[in-house]
């Protein structure tokens, strides 16, 4: 019995270094002890296998599938597109009132990037929510005159982006490619170039260690919000005005302007410009 207890302590790493060394000497010199330790080691390994199967079985019972996830996301996109249509309609209505030359709006059914649908004197209004996990980007472009506004609203829980800071050198030798998806197609360099100013690539984390001051910082495709941002939902909005994209944070009935790629921790400044606030209220009433 004493031997069994000793073996247990040995396998559970509960022996002191000196006791461990003594016991290993005993193992080396006694065939019976050696076989008993090997047997008990097999018991631990087999229990580990049983545990692994238990955990896998637990996970297997969780309902997940690529198609159901995609459908759920599509539903979100459809919802977002509907919201976008309403927002676009509002903007059109506002601008139509100001400019009597406004042409009849023409909703498109196919997704068209706002960068490619900007013929001269015509601009595009597109509203879309961004989700790292989605395959397709759904936009509802509507042709209007003179104003180009892209509003991209994100819900807190929808913002996810893969941090590919890990080194996957091994895979290069075995021919495994990382998926060329929005989830992983993120630059590892510290500079956040203009081409990567996409909310789809953006992952947002909140650091609420200091609740008093509100500030923000970009690290590659990652935006960190410092301050108390967990008590109420926040939204990120992108206003595309006259070819320039500006990012805003909407929180607690206030708007803050964010500078894409700001690497330095910067205090958040409230937007005070009335016209900008009005535009933001149109897309985020």
């Amino acid at each position: 019995m004493e031997l069994q207890e000793k073996i247990d302590q040995y396998l559970l790493n509960q022996l002191s270094p000196s006791d461990k060394a003594k016991f290993e000497e005993l193992i080396a010199g006694d065939v019976h002890v050696k076989s008993e330790v090997a047997l008990q080691q097999s018991v631990v390994t087999a229990l580990g296998n049983t545990r692994s199967l238990q955990l896998k079985s637990r996970l297997q019972n969780i309902p997940v599938s690529m198609s159901s996830t995609t459908n759920a996301i599509r539903m979100k996109w459809l919802g977002a597109a509907a919201v976008g249509t309403v927002a676009a309609g509002l903007i059109i209505f506002l601008f139509a009132g100001q400019d009597k030359t406004a042409e009849q709006t023409t909703p498109l059914t196919t997704a068209v990037s706002s960068e490619t649908t900007t013929p001269s004197k015509e601009t595009t209004v597109a509203v879309a929510t961004e989700d790292q996990t989605s395959e397709a980007k759904v936009q509802q472009p509507v042709v209007v005159k003179k104003e180009k506004t892209t509003a991209i609203a994100l819900e807190k829980s929808n913002i996810k982006a893969f941090d590919n800071s890990a080194s996957f050198n091994e895979t290069e030798n075995t021919g495994i490619s990382t998926p060329n998806s929005d989830a992983t197609d993120i630059p590892t360099n510290t500079l956040f170039s203009e081409t990567n100013n996409k909310l789809s690539n953006l992952s947002v984390t909140v650091d609420n260690s200091n609740l008093k001051d509100k500030s923000y910082q970009f690290t590659g495709p990652k935006l960190t919000l410092f301050g108390d941002f967990n008590s109420k939902p926040y939204e990120l909005l992108e206003l595309n005005n006259k070819g320039q994209k500006t990012l805003f944070l909407s929180y607690n009935n206030e708007y803050y302007e964010l500078v894409w790629g700001q690497m330095k921790k910067t205090p958040l400044k409230k937007v005070t410009h009335k016209e900008t606030i009005e535009k933001l209220k149109v897309i985020n009433p």
Binding site: S42, T45, A46, L47, T50, R58, I176, T205
Partner: protein, 180 residues
């Protein structure tokens, strides 16, 4: 729940933490395998294995999270899938637990024998022994998880279960089977 909170939950033995992670990163991990010639079932299997690896690592007291959990899982999935592809290329058909190429045959056989005996135990006994020998929980923790009155009860139960297991192993197989 942030990454650190998830790891803390795992360290406490809260299995719902891996349920949460499974759902959260499912699409990303499965996509990785799909893009590398795998099926969704294979991807699920690999991803579940990766979560089990994370569970095992995070349960070790010395484990410190040095990257995002998603990054960690991503690299584990990649490595597991690479191994699976290598295994596939070596053997067109292979079934059962993979104990690693380096494990001697007699050791594999011994584990299979023990595994069979464990499977014959009642659920409670199996769980107590897993908690004690594999999860390395204290008797007080086992008592709490299993709903026993106290640590002494857990200790007595564990002793009886271990005796039952040893008896099963040693009555079915002679000690010489285990001699190297």
């Amino acid at each position: 729940m942030n990454d650190q909170e998830i790891i803390e939950q795992i360290k406490k033995g809260d299995e719902s933490a891996i349920d949460f992670l499974y759902k959260k990163n499912y699409r990303m991990m499965v996509k990785l395998i799909l893009k590398n010639s795998g099926t969704e079932d294979e991807a699920k299997d690999i991803y579940q294995d990766a979560l089990v690896v994370l569970w095992q690592k995070a349960r070790q007291p010395e484990f410190v999270l040095s990257s995002k959990i998603s990054t960690y899982l991503y690299s584990v999935c990649l490595n597991l899938w690479r191994k699976e592809l290598e295994r596939k290329s070596r053997h067109s058909n292979s079934e059962g637990m993979d104990y690693g190429e380096s494990m001697p045959l007699d050791e594999k056989e011994r584990i299979n024998i023990v595994q069979k005996c464990i499977n014959e135990l009642g659920d409670a006994c199996k769980q107590i022994l897993i908690y004690y020998y594999y999860e390395k929980l204290s008797m007080a923790e086992i008592a709490e998880k299993m709903g026993f009155a106290n640590a002494d009860t857990a200790k007595t139960k564990k002793y009886k279960c271990k005796q039952e297991l040893d008896k099963k192993i040693k009555t079915q197989y002679t000690p010489s089977d285990f001699l190297d």
